[in-house]
Symmetry: C2
Subunit: 243 residues, 2 copies
């Protein structure tokens, strides 16, 4: 928790009052006292500093002063989701690493029962994203959408959603593709990552027909979770910039 | 489980007999039948193909034929461990991504009670590494050592252990360091990754005095787990080669 975030609705007349995990962090880990300044921010809003005005048992009230812009997302994802347990571990990291829009797509090798997972409810995944944002120190909440019909999504929606984006597809069995690009174009990236068993040939070809450039992460076969985190760190180090 | 691995002791007269998870994978996921060829390998040994000779209930016997070399580790780690739960998630990924020797060091901000964790027993972590290797399709088992006295380790042991290695330190608050290196020297890498709270200034200075080059992963603050996976994918894509 490197920056405490408040929902817009929690800030009333310049004050925010909170208990729970955030208060525990302030009181136990930061040894918070009245007058102490905390790094804070507003979900999907600016960041800044808040000063502790009152401590009432395990509840903290701060005077909020937010004005600086947060880092903005720098990439969007077309993600064939791994199993819910792995997805749950991945979600905070997606927020930390700066993903903006996340389209969960029904590639052939995605397990059918994924689509019934409770994790797909916003009430389930929002706290995971929030934790990831508070880790990173940023405020932009990722937006999740599901598209079970992968082919239809790519053919009919993708170009309108992401016009002019630079597109990359991670292909675990991509021996044929370029091993590693020494230079990547800058700008907002659209990244497609396949399921545990990989994209089918048809799926990769479809993505390539839409301008996705194939990228391989080397000869080792990675779990989706490992591949996504690795790709985002690798590409983010090159692409990220302030808005 | 992209390659089934056997311990050396499991291979007797060219045959390996196994039950448990590996057999379940062969029988349920791969729909194994007598005569079917499987991708296999020997821990810390060669890889190849084995043919199913016998299926006895949930036990499988294969005739082993190993001859090709596995991918070798390409980096070693000086790692200030995160909490045991995070370390447990990280371990399979370290094996997957090709870590060789892993020195767990007592940096200032490592939680003291980490050193009592059951995870530090080889019987606990070996199965995690094994799972990571079977995911990657490689055989080289990482070796873990602990050094609670970080300063003593760096001053007295490091140069003898890793002569001539290219050394990189990940510094989460490394605004001062180079944002991203467009070219990294090739060859075996020694990578130092700090604890959740970061290295202290003194620790980073000590590493720099030993030739570690500072690398930052950008302005977002990452968990150790995220940073290690990201670094290994990023640097591995550039460094990895067959032995």
């Amino acid at each position: 928790m490197n920056r405490i975030l408040f929902e817009k609705s929690e800030i009333v007349d310049g004050l925010a009052t909170f208990g729970g995990e955030r208060a525990e962090h302030v009181l136990s880990f930061l040894h918070g006292e009245v007058g102490q300044a905390l790094k804070t921010g507003e979900v999907d809003g600016p960041i800044g500093t808040s000063v502790i005005e009152r401590i009432d048992g395990r509840t903290v009230t701060v005077r909020v002063s937010h004005g600086e812009p947060s880092l903005a997302p720098w990439c969007d994802l077309v993600l064939a989701p791994p199993r819910p347990r792995a997805m749950k571990r991945l979600m905070p990291q997606l927020a930390t690493l700066g993903a903006g829009r996340i389209f969960l797509v029904g590639a052939k090798k995605v397990e059918k029962d994924f689509w019934g997972a409770t994790l797909l409810n916003e009430s389930e995944y929002r706290p995971l994203f929030l934790a990831g944002l508070m880790q990173a120190g940023t405020t932009a909440m990722p937006v999740v959408e599901t598209r079970r019909n992968f082919r239809k999504f790519v053919n009919e929606e993708l170009d309108a959603l992401f016009p002019g984006s630079h597109r990359v597809v991670a292909h675990p069995y991509g021996e044929g593709g370029p091993r590693q690009k020494s230079e990547m174009p800058r700008g907002r990236l659209l990244l497609a990552v396949g399921p545990e068993g990989g994209w089918t040939d048809e799926e990769v070809e479809l993505l390539e027909s839409k301008g996705f450039e194939r990228i391989s992460l080397g000869p080792r076969i990675l779990k989706t979770e490992t591949a996504v985190v690795g790709l985002l760190v690798m590409l983010g180090a090159r692409n990220e910039k302030m808005v």
